[in-house]
Symmetry: C2
Amino acid sequence: MENFLETISALNDETRVKLLAFLDQHGALCVCDMQSSFGMIQSRLSRHLKILKDGGFLRVDRCGTWAYYSIRSPLDRFRSEALAEIRCLGIELPPLIKLSETGDCKL
Amino acid sequence: MENFLETISALNDETRVKLLAFLDQHGALCVCDMQSSFGMIQSRLSRHLKILKDGGFLRVDRCGTWAYYSIRSPLDRFRSEALAEIRCLGIELPPLIKLSETGDCKL
DNA sequence: TCAATAAATCAATATATCTTGATATTGAAG
DNA sequence: CTTCAATATCAAGATATATTGATTTATTGA
């Protein structure tokens, strides 16, 4: 029951649903990229990413001080069905601003 | 997005997950049956049932002053996958006390 | 029409979750 | 070893959700 509720409550927030959709669209992204794209302050973003990771949706790959988040693969049946549902919502997402590649990341 | 979040937040509560599992197991039940089985006060139960109904999981059939709740059929893909997930949790449920049939319902 | 029962709604409080700003941790570079 | 950038965590206040007891609505039967 605990695990199920952790999975569900990970989905129970508009910000997190948008982050999932964004990562689904763009693949692995580092925190600062999502920060610049969403214009979200860092602690808030970091917290939501942790909840999505603990909920079994995301993996993290660390590369030095950078953390790349991406959708876990494979997802189990229920989580991938949830992701499919999110895809169907046609959520409007911000344009991707990839500071990590331009080298402009000093957030 | 709104509808999705309404569906998700319907699932985001231990009491409601148990109610879903209970109705899945027993079919249509009237409010007083669930009240006696779970030992839950009426306003609390009524509120949770409303949230599950608004979340698209339950239907209500009224019969006089009685309200019979049951799992909506057919459920769409995502909701039935959620229900399947709940079935797999092996939740411990209280025994069914069916006051509505014994005629002892004076709650 | 009136009284009684089942269920829904409301208002107040309790509890949980989200947001923010500040601080801590970690790794890379000098 | 020191500094700096990227990320994570913490503590406080703000917001949302859950619980309770009281009230309301709807329906049945006298």
